[in-house]
Structures are given as structure tokens and as C-alpha cells.
Amino acid sequence: MATRSGLEKWFPEFFEKHKAFTVFDLLVTYISSGRITLDKNLFTMKIAYHDPCNYGRKSEEKFGHGYYEEPRWILSQFVSNWVDLYPAGANGYCCGGGGGTMLTPYKEVRSHYSRKKIEQIKRVNPELIVLPCHSCHGQIKQALAENNMDIPVKYLWEIVAEALIMD
């Protein structure tokens, strides 16, 4: 998000020489071209997917495309039972740690914010939460702990890495 908008704003010539990919673009390419194969029997538990604001709503606003479909496509390739939180996508909730607030001392406000995410998670009651963002990862883990909820949180690429079938 920051890098992309920075590049677009100050280094537009960058794109003449180089190509840039989001994590989703790469994973989709790897999977669809067969460069990686994933084990479909590994993730059979109920998995909830969380949309980070930066990849969704804000990318869409800033760059005209929100990454909603791609992560869901990736999940569908090897995860049998994944669900959305409600609301998800463009109207989804932030984990509560966006905007650099993870780095501020206002922890209380942050946990207050994350109650919304916790409510969403409780409604779905998943066995694993998957997301593609380091901030969200940290914040959601923290919020779950604060709420005494024992649900593991993994990166999208983490479960991809775990499901890799090496030949």
C-alpha cells in the first residue's frame, strides 16, 4: 500500500522498467500455472478469512482494485471449508490495528476497536483464522488472547507454505 502509492506518486517511471506484484498476484500465478501444488486434505477445518483494509477497501479506493476475489480463489484451491466473516469485503471491519495504531500507546482504544472483529469471529466460530497482513495478524492474535479465545491465526502464505506438496 505505502510502497505502491509511493511508487505511483513519486516514481511513475518505475513501472516502465519493472513489474510489481501483490502477494495475491504471485500466489495466483504460482497456483494457476502449476508452479506449486497444494495438498487439499490438510485444511479441512473451518477457516475464517479476514480482509485487511489495505488490500481491500483502501486498495480499491486508491488503485481501483480491491483484493477480495483473489484470496478467496486461493483458499478455494485447497481449503474445503472456509467462510467469510460478516460484513466482509469493502464493508469489512479493520482488525483494530490499522493506521499504525499498533505502534501507538493507545492499547485500550485498539482493544475496544477489535471487539467488532471478535464479534464477527464469534458469529462464525472458526477453528482457524487466515489473513494476509502482518498488522492484522498481530492485532487479531492479541484480541483473541484478550478475549480468552483459543483460535490460531495464520497468514495466507503460511497455510500455502504448509500445504506445499514438494516433488
Binding site: 460478516y86 460484513p87 469485503g89 469493502a90 464493508n91 464479534e119 464469534k122 458469529r123
Partner: protein, 980 residues
Amino acid sequence: MNIHTVIAGAGISGIRAAFDLAELGHRVVLLDKAPSSGGILSQLDHQFPDNHCGMCTLLPMIDRDKGPQFCLRKGIFHDHVTFIPSAEIVSVKGPAGQLSVVVEKQHTGIDPLKCMACGSCESVCPVSVPDGFNEGYSTRKAVFLPVPHQIPNHRIIDFSVCTRCGECVKACPVSAINLDGEARKLEFNPVNAVILATGSGQYDPAQSDLYGFGVLPNVVTSKGLERIMSSSGPSKGQLFRPSDNKPIKRMAFLQCVGSRNLMENADHCSSVCCMFAVKEAVMACEKSHDDLTVSIFYMDMRTFGRDFQRYKDQAETSHGLRFIRCRVHSVEPCENTDGMKISYVNDKGMYMEETVDLVVLSTGKKTGLTHPDFYQNEGVFALSDTFDFKDIGESLVAADVAAGKAMALGGPPHTPEQRIFDTQRLSKKAMPLLVLCQCGNNLSNDLDLDLIESHLSAMPGAPQILKLEQACGAAGFESIGTALTSSQANRVVIAACNPFLFDHKIKALARDAQLPDGFFKTLDMRSHVTGKTKNEQTQSLLSQIKSTVNSLNLTLPVYREKRTVTPSALVVGGGPAGLSAAFCLASAGIDVDLLDKESQLGGNGIHFSPGPEKNSLDKLLSSVTNHPKIRVHPATCLTRHQGLAGVFTATITTPNAVEQKIPHGAAIVATGGGQAQTLDYCASQHNGILSVFDLAKGLGDKTLNPLDFSKVVMIQCAGTREEPRNYCSRICCTKALLNAIAIKEANPSASIHIFYRDMMSYGESEKIYTRARQAGILFIPFDLHKKPQVAVNNQTIHVTGFDPVLQEDVQLAPDLLVLSTGIVPTDNQIISKIFHINTTQDGFLKEANSKWRPVDSGREGIFVCGLARAPLGFQEAMDEGISAAMRALRILGRPFLETPQVTARVRHSLCSRCQACIPECPYQARYLDEENGKIMVDSVSCQGCGACASLCPNSSIMMGQFEEKGIMDSIEFFLNEACP
């Protein structure tokens, strides 16, 4: 047959325009894309303020025998109106007055001429899809009744879901189904005019991800709620939650869904949703006996109609509705229940969360609709609100305006049908003819017609019997005609199916036989096929035949008053409404006497500053003053008004105190109004305090200079929208916005604060509000209990207000304070007495029905419009003037008025003169003739509703064709059936 006008869209506006023209004697084709008439109103059962339907009020009231008088939601039946469902105009060519109109009629799969509406097709259809009529809360088949209560009740096939399995074709007993037909083209040529009244659609909230519509089952649209609460709806009128049919305890309305939203390209207000929501909330509370909490989340409650504010206040106090000024962000589900969570910020600026069982989305109008390519052709008139949402009353006014334009293109003058009656035949003893239809032998398994024949011949006053193989075809009617010519029969009962099919034909038969229409009765044989034994069904039919024959035998010819109409009109008041009424009437060839108490015509318009409004008024003024048919009486007062519709006499006093009598057939009251005064907010204590209208005038005529003002404060609803003047004056908000923009544009550094209660920028004027904000004008809402305070100290104006967003007091010392004081009517106290018409609590002239008869006074022949009736804008006033003129033309356009078949008559020997009936007559048709000490009925005004008859404690009222004797005898016959 010459078609005068083709009207596209059989919603309420289309129907009104059709009746307008039909009542002027023109023939009209009315079509609708949908397979039924009524538009959105076919789905809405209740309209505020009385929360009844009342659509039948729209039926023609003059010459009402031109069509049956029953529920208009069932269908449109009028001798001069041909309704074509599932049809659209595809092209309009030629010059106005000589148009060629091509209409495409969809193939609906079922031949209405063959169909007996038995429903066999529907019972075998294997398809099940959500039913649009119930907004998807019930299911229907591929062959279905689009509107269950409508007649003719032929089903249609929805080919988009039909699987073409052919089961229905096999099941149809009369081979009326054809799955392979194609759309047909119909051409009408020449046609004088085309009216487009195709209406709008509703915003689809499923396109937004905020409200969960389509995902959360208990999020419904306001129309969906209407269906849920409808007695013809999915839960038969019970207010249940769609997801689990549990009762609803908490309900939230979210206003402005799809309206007032730049992101949805909807910079408009949909005008009707606020009151719609309040009405639905009231109904929901009533249905659940107030065991329900309703919250309405709004930004501005747009109660801009004359009586809306009190309706809203009443709803708030009597049902405890909660009005919360906050737009809700989104709707979320609750954990483990079907409830939903809503968060908002309350008036204390606090974040609140609550749980509700049902969320109702007040969805606005659809955007992005486009007009057909012939939209701007000559002779094509689109309703001003074609794509807008409007209140019913306003839609009717718009329809009248369009009909007025169509009418102006000419057409044959109105020549009412002259009926001749065979008095000799009528004066004889009742001789009934009974037509028994065998329905092509289709009924032989269910009804024993021979048995009926033999029974009847033994009956006293036995009817002559004519058995026909099929009564409804041309041959059938011919046989009936022949039988009537060759016999002395003077009463006719037709026993067949689908009696409504006969209405039209019966009139022709009656005309030929020179008998009154009321001496013909039809009864539905098929309604006796109830699944009982053949003998039981036959007995049941027999009883009905006997009772019908008997009551018809007792029906006597009605005396018919024929009142010659004075073909001229009186218009009182020469402001915008009166002028446009006078001009419309004069253009239709009617002589007009136009009175104004002032020496100069123009009303409030004389203050207009140069601009489009002034131009349009000036044009109208010169047309009126130069029109040979209009006699202007300036500086003249009306002192007396007497008579009945068609034959009124006015007494006027001219400037030189001469009394003069003016006979006329109809009167239009447009006596206007003016700005109200207030004592609030130090109104007269500083010359920097002006009214919104005075500022507009000053800015217009340049007596005020925007550069003189650096700090401006405006306060809306000054002394108004609270008791005793608890109504919205409708135009002050827009005026204030325009004033503010004008100042800001000329003087960008000026700071402008507007204190408002609810910004009434309804409809397209929302754009002005948006523009004003973008110009940097600050808006601060206030509640009645926290009004801004104004003080004048040492020649300085001090305004202290409270900003609920900041939760802080705001202190301002403006050099200009502008008060929106509202509008009051001028002469209504006297005028209402002179005309014997009613006024509202606030002194405005009261129309007969704010929804369905917006410009009719309570008395037939007297019409009300303009500011005298309600606060409104210039264009709205002119439109109302035309509407009033169109209503007057129903009377003035015909040579005489005739008593219809069913009216109330007083049996003076029974009447005890208690006079209870007089105030209860909804048409003010009853009065006490003081000279003779008798209660009288104006037979032209009387609509035969029977309110008086049911009220009269002495049974002294007879309704034509519903005489007590006949009814008692019918009861006898049915008792005979019930207790043999």
C-alpha cells in the same frame, strides 16, 4: 372509434389522466408494461393520513354510470377507457393531433376470451419462484395471477421461468393456453396525444453492501414491509419476522436508502419515504397493539406536506415512535439469533448500539432511467414526475396537468349520450327474463340447469327463461337482444361466469331495449361450483337466481334529475393558481369570471424578481387579461355563493359597491396566502432581522446588497412547525438556501450559519442544499426544546445556538438575521363560510381528500387550489390551478348533469330530521331545506356510498337498487336455502 389519447403507464397518474379525459367525453387507451393496472399502489393497501386505501375515490363522480363503481384496485372499467395490460408504446409518429402510435402487446400465453379463470393451469404448474407481488415473501408458479385481487383474473405465463412442460396446456378445459405465441403490434391512428406516466422504480438496496439486504432475511424494504403487513400478503396481515415468523418487538427504519447520496449518484430526496415510513410505523404499532418499539433513523424528517407534521407528531406521541437523527452505517447480524445490530450516535453525541428484529429500508427512487426516443415528439406529454417519487395527491395534480395538455390538442366536444326509456314497458308489472348460460356444456357436471328451469317456472313472478349455449360471445348477446325485442320483459338476469365481462355489453343491451342499466343483473354461476354435490350446487345457484330475480322485480325506475349546466366558471383569486385555472378553462372554451379583491392581478407573484418565474407569470398574466373568454373583475369581493354543482350563483360587490349576480356552473377558490408574522427571535426589534421572503425580495430588486453582510444567521421554522402553527410551509427552506447561495456567491467571505430543524429540500431541491453546503454555508440542526436564542443588545444581534455535532454552544453576532416564518392563508375564514367548505385547523381550505381528491373541496362543483389550500411553490400552485380547472371541466364540459342509478333518497315520512346524516356525508351532498323542513340530497353530488343509509337511525334513506324490501326478501330466499 376515435382514440383521443394513448396513455402509457396505468399507475395512479395514468389512471387519473385517463379518467380526466374520459370524463370529458374522450376515448382513451391506457396501457401498462405490467400485466395489471395500479402500479405500485396495487401492492399498497394503506395510505396515510387515514391509513385506508381509498383508491376508489378516484372513480369518476360525475356521470359515474359510465363504469361500475367498485374497488379500483381490481381493475379499470370505464366505457371510454380501454385498458391493455402487458403492453408498451414502441413508436409515436406524426404531428400532434394526428399521431400514429404503435403498441407492442406481449404474449401472455392465455387467451382472455377463452379463459374461464378456473385456475387448473396453475394447479398443475411445476415451477415455483418468488412472487414479485409479495416482494418475494411468497412463491408463485410460472402461470400465475400477477395481482391476486385483480379482475379480469386471467392468469398469465411468465415465459422467463416457464419450462414449457405443457402440463397447463393439457389441464386447460377450454384450450385457452398457447405457449408459442408472439408479441403483437397494435396501431392507433389518428391519436391526438400521448401521455407518458410510466413512473419510476425503486432503488435496489441489494446493490449496496451496507444494509445486508438479500443476505440478512430480516432486512426488508418499505414496500416489502407493506406486503408483510398486507392482508393479501404472505402472512395474511400478521406482522411477522420473515426469517422465522416470530412476532416483532423492535423495528428500525433506515431512511434515505439510495437517496441523498452522491456515491449512488442520487443527489435528490425521494420525497415520499419519510411519511411512508411514519405510516408504516403507525400501522405496525397498531397491528402489534403497541407492543413494539419502532425507531426511525433519519437525517431530516421531510414532513413538508400541509398536514404531515401533525401526523408525524401524533404518531410520535400516541405510539411512542423514536425518531433518531442519525444515518445508520450498516446493519449487522446478531450472534445466535436472527436479530440485527444497529449502531448510531444519539443527540448527546454518544455512540449507541441496539438490537432489532426487523430493519426496514426506506428505499428511494431508482436513478438512471431514460426516456423513450419519442419523448419529446410533438403531442407527447410526460408527467412532470415521470421518474420521480411523488405523493399520491401530487401525482394526480401532475396527471391533470398532462391531461390538460392533451385536452388542449382538441377533440370532439362532449356530447353525452341521450338515453331514451321505454316508459310504457317500464310502467308494466315486472317481467323478468332469465338468461341461463350453459357455458358450452362445461357446467353440466356441476349444475343441473334443467332442474333450475323447472323450479323457477313454479315460482311466483316466474321469469321467462332463455337458455344459451354460450352467453358471452357475440351470438349470445344477439340472442338476448332478440329475446328482449320479441318479449315484454323489462328486467334481465344473466347467469353466466365472469359477470364483469358483461358490464359493457349490458349497457348496449339496455340502451337498445330502452331500459335502465340497473334493470340488468349478472350473477356468477361458477361461484356455486364449490366442490359439493351437483344437487347442492344447483340448489345454491337456484337460491341466488330466485333472490336476484325477486329483488330485481322489486326494483323501481329511479327518477332522474337532469340539471342543465351553466357553462361558465367563477375563479376567485388572481394569483398564480387562479390565473392558471382561468386560462386553462378559457382555453377549453369556457367563459370565466375572474375575481380579485386587489386591483392588480398576480397575487404574491407581483413581488417576483426578474427570472424564469417572473417571465412565466408575466406570460400567463397577459394571456389571461387578453383572453376573450375571461372577464376580470378587479378590486371585487365575493359576498354570497348559492346553488348546487352546475347551477351556482355568486353575488359580488364591485369597487363602486354595486351588487352583481354571476351564474356559473363551477367555482375555483384560489384566494391565496401570504407570509406569516412571528414575535419569536426578536423579530421586530432590529432592522437587521428580516423574513426569508423579504430577503429574497430585497436581493431580487437590489434594495439589499450582499456585500453589506459579513455574518449572516438564518433560523428556519420561526414560529412554525410547532403549535399553534404546526405545519411546514414547504418553500421557506429552499428560499433560504437560494438566499444564502446568492449572498455567498456575491460575497464569498461572508459567513453564513443556518439553524434548521429539518431541511425540507425535497425532490430535486436537494441539489440546492448540496450546493449550499459546498458553498461553505454551515448548517446546524436544532430541536424544539433547544431553539437558538436571539437577543438584541446595543443594536447588536446575538444568536446563541447549540451544535449537536460538536455538542457545544455556538455564539454568533450576525449583521443579518433571517427568519423563515412560513405561510398563512389570507381570506379563508370568510371564504370558507361563503362557500360552505371546510378549513383545516390552521385555516387552509380543506380538500375533500388530501390523497385522492387534492383540489376538490368537500362540495361538488367547488374546487380549491394554491396557497389558500396549502403552502406550496409557484410552479406547484400553477399546476394545482390547472388541476382544479380540469376537475371543473368535468362539470362545465357537459350540457347537463344527470342523476346516476344509485343515489340516496330520503323517505320523508320516515325521516325524523335528526340531521345526523348531514355531517357524515363524505360528499356534502345532504342538507336541510329549512323552508320545507326536509333533509335533501343533491343527487349529482351523492355518490351512492350509503354512509347515510347505514347511519340513519330511522332507516329513512333508500339507496337506489338497494331497497330494504328487496334485501329482506333476498335474506328470506337465502334463509330458505340455509334452513330448509
